[in-house]
Amino acid sequence: MPNIAGNAYGLTTLCPIKNGGPPHRLDEDGATLPDNRSFGAILRDRLEDLPCDERSPMARVPNTYLCRFFVLDDLIYQGKPAEEDHLKSKYLVFTSNFHGDLETYLHGMWEHAADAVRRIWEHCVAFDRVTDAGSFVDYIKKCQVETTFYFMGSTDVSLAEQLKGLYLKQEFSKFAFANQGKSAAELQAAFAEFAARTRPDNVQGPTWRPGASQLKDAVVEGP
């Protein structure tokens, strides 16, 4: 399966966007205004308005390592003597790198970020048939294109394990630095306190928050 490298999955989707645009929009007072934006432009604005890092809706989707969205308006003409190609639809390009299998991932996406999913895909062709997690999985599979080659330069363990590892790397590096030159008994006592605080074998917590971009609020205690 070229979409898979170990336990990591490379999802590549092109979701066609409806041509044209809405007939009108409403202003703050509910009055009808003309809206000259195409559905593709509306979608691009919505994507660019999404909050980032730990506030991104994708931070709520289990096992997402990295993902991206953009609107493919058209293909780039390479200049003469090449021939000119144009798309008849715009496409929402959504690619994701995640741990595990596709169906579980997409179910998790619907379960944890259905509000954002509806807003992002609202103007895509045939998305009006999506009503629940099952139909969302079917829809994305229809938009999926096969990855010809997927390269994994990182790890394929679960996101919880990756984040716990990063938390431990940070904390243990500080511990090793702070406890240089101590006697065996002092060191053992300090490590006992460190292990009780960091719980190395518990991937649920304490750990780093998905998408954490600042150290001051990166740590979550977990259940």
């Binding site: 008849k88 390269f151 790397k169 971009s213 600042q214």
Partner: protein, 214 residues
């Protein structure tokens, strides 16, 4: 709009190639899947989290409803998506310098591909065919790809060590601890928010507020 999420950069390129060259390229990628040494250069560079290539025929563009016009394209298209650490220039130059042959192998059939060396035409080609990302999410913006890999090694070693030293005397503990530090000497370092790698990223940082978009 941002191609940057913390220490990671999202590159998207889409470039055309004739159908017969697309067939050859697919065959090359098929062989590469079973010859893992083909990507040793990429592994050595060690700045990529995940990357992918997708080669599409005109008929591969999803068609979901009769109301959607079918695509009628003259070329096949090579889609390339990468998640890497560092700046655009660092990445592109690393590739050109370290694995020029590999780059040429996977793009050689593309229309007007100039080859990876010299740098300037190659830079122009990538820039010309690059698409900007509207929303990029990274689960660990403060970590580089090497941080994620060394963190996994450290986590496993630390879990083993914690079990191994249960009930040990202070002297035995110290001996094991010193061995642990030796085995982790390449994995110990602290992480922090990314340094500014571009004026665009700096502008984004500057305007970011709790409820603002990225």
């Amino acid at each position: 709009m941002s191609n940057i999420a913390g220490k990671s950069y999202a590159m998207n390129t889409i470039s055309p190639l004739p159908w017969h060259k697309a067939l050859v390229l697919k065959l090359l990628f098929f062989i590469a899947r079973f010859r893992t040494t083909s990507f040793n250069g990429l592994l050595t560079l060690s700045l990529i989290h995940y990357a992918r290539w997708a080669i599409l025929r005109p008929g591969d563009f999803p068609h979901l409803d009769p109301s959607q016009p079918k695509e009628d394209l003259k070329y096949h298209y090579e889609f390339f998506f990468s998640n890497f650490n560092g700046s655009w220039d660092q990445y592109v130059d690393s590739f050109s310098s370290a694995i020029p042959g590999g780059l040429d192998l996977f793009w050689r059939g593309n229309v007007k591909y100039p080859k990876s060396v010299p740098f300037r035409p190659f830079h122009n080609y990538i820039t010309f065919n690059q698409y900007w990302t509207s929303h990029y999410y990274n689960a660990y913006p403060m970590a580089a790809s090497n941080d994620v890999k060394s963190a996994e090694h450290l986590r496993k070693e630390l879990v083993d060590f914690t079990r191994k030293v249960e009930g040990a005397s202070p002297e035995a503990f110290k001996e094991q601890y010193d061995q642990l530090l030796l085995s982790l000497q390449y994995d110990l370092s602290t992480m922090a928010p990314t340094p500014v790698v571009s004026l665009a990223a700096a502008a984004i940082d500057g305007r970011e507020r709790p409820d603002a978009a990225c």
